[in-house]
């Protein structure tokens, strides 16, 4: 099942790039390429629950992305104001923020979301907590209040 999603994703990527659906020759070559990539990926053991989660997660991802995008816009506005401010009002600090995501994919999504929102960068993923560099105190508090974590947990879905 996981492998099927993987191959569909890969074939979709290749097909969208190519777009030559009427050209039989290129379609055959494309199918051979997909098969070869699937073989290489199997040999490398790339396809597992860490990187290619179940279908449900991908579906819920489409809800998560708009939320994340809005967060990015909001915090960009904050950084925007500070960069143009002559006084440069920043108070950088290192903070540790606990996380309780269960899956590796969820943890990575969470960590990357923190990095994507300006004002906070995930430096390290430790046991059960992130080491975060925050540009301002407000940004640091923003991570710890847990609203983004709740969204990521929704992305992970029910416990299996």
């Amino acid at each position: 099942m996981r492998y099927l999603i993987f191959v569909v994703l890969l074939a979709g990527f290749f097909g969208l790039l190519s777009g030559q659906f009427h050209n039989g020759f290129l379609m055959v070559v494309g199918a051979l390429c997909i098969a070869l990539i699937a073989l290489i990926s199997a040999r490398m053991a790339l396809v597992d629950e860490e990187s290619y989660p179940d279908l449900g997660t991908w579906v819920r991802m489409s809800l998560y992305v708009p939320y994340l995008f809005w967060q990015i816009v909001l915090s960009n506005w904050d950084v925007f104001k500070r960069v143009w401010d002559p006084a440069l009002p920043v108070s950088p600090q290192l903070v540790r923020a606990p996380f309780s995501t269960r899956t590796a994919f969820g943890t990575v999504t969470f960590a990357n979301s923190i990095t994507l929102t300006p004002g906070t960068v995930t430096i390290e993923v430790l046991e059960g907590e992130f080491l975060i560099h925050a540009l301002t105190t407000e940004a640091a508090d923003g991570v710890k209040d847990g609203s983004m974590e709740a969204q990521v947990k929704r992305l992970e879905g029910a416990i299996k």
Partner: protein, 100 residues
């Protein structure tokens, strides 16, 4: 100008403004860790605006798909790259700057 060109122009202007802010931040911020905040991330929003804005002026689905693809890919790879640099810097013993 057609409506879609105006829309694109607005998006481009927004994107360029954000991008310039990021570049300015890269110059103004006091140390590496603070520069990260402006450089890597403002750019990811800026490229979303610029590439997203370009979608309005193309009537070719393959171009639109490529633009969307680039936006999506950068949303995955940009934070990964930022994380890798930061971690390398920390391992190398670069200390964060503190005010005062």
């Amino acid at each position: 100008m057609e409506w879609n060109e105006i829309l694109t122009a607005i998006f481009l202007a927004l994107g360029v403004l954000i991008s310039l802010t990021g570049s300015l931040g890269l110059l103004r911020m006091p140390d590496f860790y603070t520069r990260l905040h402006t450089a890597g991330k403002s750019d990811s929003l800026a490229q979303t605006f610029i590439l997203g804005g370009l979608i309005f002026v193309t009537d070719n689905w393959q171009v639109a798909v490529r633009l969307l693809m680039i936006i999506l890919l950068l949303f995955f790879t940009a934070p990964t790259a930022t994380h890798a640099i930061t971690k390398a810097a920390r391992l190398d013993g670069l200390e964060p700057w503190r005010r005062g």
